[in-house]
Symmetry: C2
Subunit: 205 residues, 2 copies
DNA sequence: CAACAATACGGAGCGCTGTTCCGTTAAGCA
DNA sequence: TGCTTAACGGAACAGCGCTCCGTATTGTTG
């Protein structure tokens, strides 16, 4: 599909358009980021638009859905997180240490962005952009770290089912929900415990 | 506060009131339960009211908030789950087996009630009735099972921090979010892994 | 330089929530 | 039989994500 056209036909330069120029997306993203810091990721689109000094129509023209705006705001950090995976694996003494460090990085990212972890679960009609983006970008990274750490521990005891990268990533995301503002709940501790359990394999009945 | 009046003054029997009799709550609860099974716990109050053949005002007079209605619907099952804790501990060969069995029970309860786990996180103004009820009723149970299982394993390696009953319960609840309808995500497996990790204590850095 | 066409803009409006409010209805009592 | 009182029903409110269309602003053209 989309067989990559051999040559761009005409209008090579994209400056050949008429009409009003598009507003710079960076301003919108900056406003959204600022509002997210103050009011959390669940802040109303109206508030973001007001902060940017812009109508809501403009927001929705640049980012067709609320989730895509969130994705755009955090894209850089997610990308950095994804790239940190292979690097940690190369730098760390053991694969398990790399996995644990990467997981800690991810948890810190989620916990500091209030409401992000909660927004991550694709509860809206099937293809939620937010859920999808995180999964596409981070599951491979999480999966390879997990596999490497498991290989390091030697052959598994039996052919018993084993936690896969997707489950682990989604589980970590879920564990981070409601972590900020609940001092009795230590998401990082639980996630590290989950990693321990995922590496050990389940023993008892 | 509310120093428990020594003696009930007059009106000993409660049948001395005038005005219309209250509708039987059981009908409302039955309707709500039926709607929850069909459309999940997030079903609109309007739908529940319509199913019960009742106005919305009636729903809200019996259950001041949506969360309290949910609590009422599931109170019996939560109670049963709480009572299963001590029983399992008495019946099981080991405390760890009891903990794992209880946790499996809780997970099955949450996963089969679509959206319940998601509604559990108290994201609304502070004192969410749903979150509070589950915590009050189940944290003690979860905590004693966890302590018993840990005691069984012998003295902990050091004074390092350890997962408490509240964290474990909330963690389990979070892990169950979005479990139904995602065949690649096995909540029960992850929860058992979390239990393993919580019992083992975190090893690596 | 003056029309014009093309495009982005702004925000009122829609459909959907949970929750509140008040006029209406029906049961007990005199 | 009428009156008092409580519960009922559902219209109305505020807040959400998102859509739609008249308006404003640009680059192009005669």
């Amino acid at each position: 599909m989309t067989p990559e056209p051999i040559e761009r036909p005409a209008e090579a330069e994209a400056t050949r358009r008429v009409g009003r120029p598009r507003r710079d997306q960076h301003e919108l993203l900056a406003a959204a980021a600022a509002v997210f810091v103050e009011h959390g990721v669940d802040a109303p689109v109206r508030v973001i638009a007001a902060r940017a000094g812009v109508g809501m129509g403009t927001i929705y023209r640049h980012f067709p859905t609320r989730a895509e705006l969130v994705v755009a705001v955090y894209r850089h950090q997610v990308e950095a997180c994804a790239e940190a995976g292979p690097r940690l694996l190369a730098e760390s003494a053991t694969a398990e240490a790399a996995l644990r460090a990467w997981v800690a990085l991810f948890v810190e990212f989620l916990v500091t962005k209030h409401g992000l972890a909660g927004a991550l679960r694709g509860d809206n009609a099937g293809s939620d952009a937010l859920h999808g983006y995180f999964v596409d970008r981070l599951v491979p990274v999480c999966g390879s770290l997990l596999d490497a750490a498991r290989a390091e521990r030697g052959p598994s005891s039996a052919g018993q089912p084993v936690v896969n990268g997707y489950s682990l990533l989604k589980g970590i995301g879920n564990l981070c929900i409601g972590a900020a503002g609940d001092s009795d709940y230590d998401a990082d501790q639980l996630v590290q415990a989950l990693v321990s359990g995922a590496l050990a394999g389940i023993s008892s009945t």
